[in-house]
């Protein structure tokens, strides 16, 4: 490591307070606004044609219309989120349906999943990473319906992984026996994306 011990001459930096620094993964900084990142145009979604599906390695695929989805038991959770582009946002509040609720009663041999979205975006997640009270399908942010540019009407929320795993404009979960790298995961980004291990890119 040629860079070991390198000091940036004249750099002092702005320090975080001690309380928040324990909540901020390595290489991240805290923002108070909500930056937007996406790879293409924001899809405009017609709620009459919207549905959420669980498919793939499942005997009877599940599907909810917008109305049915809204009627599912919801949870409101407050989480810190961490984007691979370095910003973290603390104490964000979301309302949505736990993936545990959606997966209730599902028998599957799958250990992996691909979460898929309008516009063709995909991201891969292990079943372990989306079950056990770790992932939600969210339709409100901060008490308001989710803006299209932030993934509305509905986005995935997996706050313990980098935020690209929290797919915007989500339409379903495909259960799989094998791991299929998703959009960013085939474009240089880490297959799992744990911010606390700084798994940003291939090989991290």
């Amino acid at each position: 490591m040629p860079a070991m011990g390198f000091i940036s001459r004249g750099f002092r930096g702005r320090r975080r307070d001690v309380a928040s620094s324990a909540r901020v993964p390595p290489g991240q900084y805290v923002v108070t606004d909500f930056p937007v990142l996406s790879a293409g145009p924001t899809p405009r979604v017609n709620l009459d044609q919207w549905s959420f599906s669980i498919e793939g390695e499942i005997d009877e695929p599940k599907r909810w219309t917008w109305k049915e989805f809204q009627a599912l038991p919801s949870e409101t959770v407050t989480k810190d989120i961490h984007c691979v582009t370095k910003w973290s946002k603390l104490d964000t509040t979301w309302k949505g349906v736990s993936v545990d609720t959606l997966m209730g009663g599902v028998e599957t041999a799958a250990e992996f999943s691909t979460v898929f979205s309008d516009g063709g975006y995909t991201t891969n997640l292990t079943l372990d990473d989306i079950t056990g009270n770790k992932a939600w399908v969210a339709y409100e942010f901060d008490g308001q319906p989710l803006d299209p540019e932030h993934g509305g009407p509905v986005r995935f929320l997996v706050p313990h992984l980098y935020f690209w795993k929290s797919a915007k404009w989500v339409r379903g979960i495909r259960l799989q026996k094998e791991e299929h790298p998703g959009f960013w995961e085939t474009n240089g980004y880490h297959i799992r994306g744990d911010p606390w291990q700084e798994q940003r890119y291939w090989g991290d």
Binding site: I7, A39, P41, T186, G188
Partner: protein, 242 residues
Amino acid sequence: MIKWQLGTLAELKPETPRVSSLYLDVPEWPGHLAGQHVDVRLTAEDGYQAERSYSIASAPEDRRLALTVERLDDGEVSPYLVGELRVGDKLEFRGPIGGFFVWQGQDERPLLLVAGGSGIVPLMSMLRHRASASRKPPARLLYSSRKFEDIIYAQKLARLAAAGDGLSVHHTLTREKPSGWTGYTRRIDAAMVKDVAWPKDTTPAVFVCGPTSFVEAAAQLLVAMDYDPRWIKTERFGATGG
């Protein structure tokens, strides 16, 4: 992993009152594609570190790696890069990063580049790469700046357009225009996009980069022109950053 390395600042070139280009000598640069970025890491004497991402401005074939950085007054890293860093200083970074928002010279589709503010930086890498390519697809740049003095690479862009190799550059200024200005003087809108964008039957390759609100507007206008969303690659940055 993509390893951290040190480059030496060889030249610091002001582009606008708030923006400078950093030209770095990098002994072990693995090469990059036009549109990719690097992660820059600053380390204080007590070990405190701050990291940010910056787009690469230079073409893959350029001798030096160039970053163009806008100084954000409330930023942590950009005031160091544009203000403190001097020629001869070393800078730690790793890259190149990002495999999607990239343009490769063998892509023969007409190129449409749409930039807001410092969103021009990765697009400049593409234009520089195109300029040195043997076969050049026709290209159009629509570039929105606040004021005339905020236009980054104004003269470089004028020179590239003057080469007569199929590139046209279209500026718009959203706040103030100098006397004699002949470009657009408003925010990007449907009429402007219709003037500049390639007809959809040419199936162009489109890259849009800028602040979120700009990118949202530009991408929606292109989709409204019946561009296939899959032709349009976007890169956005919020008001925060660096």
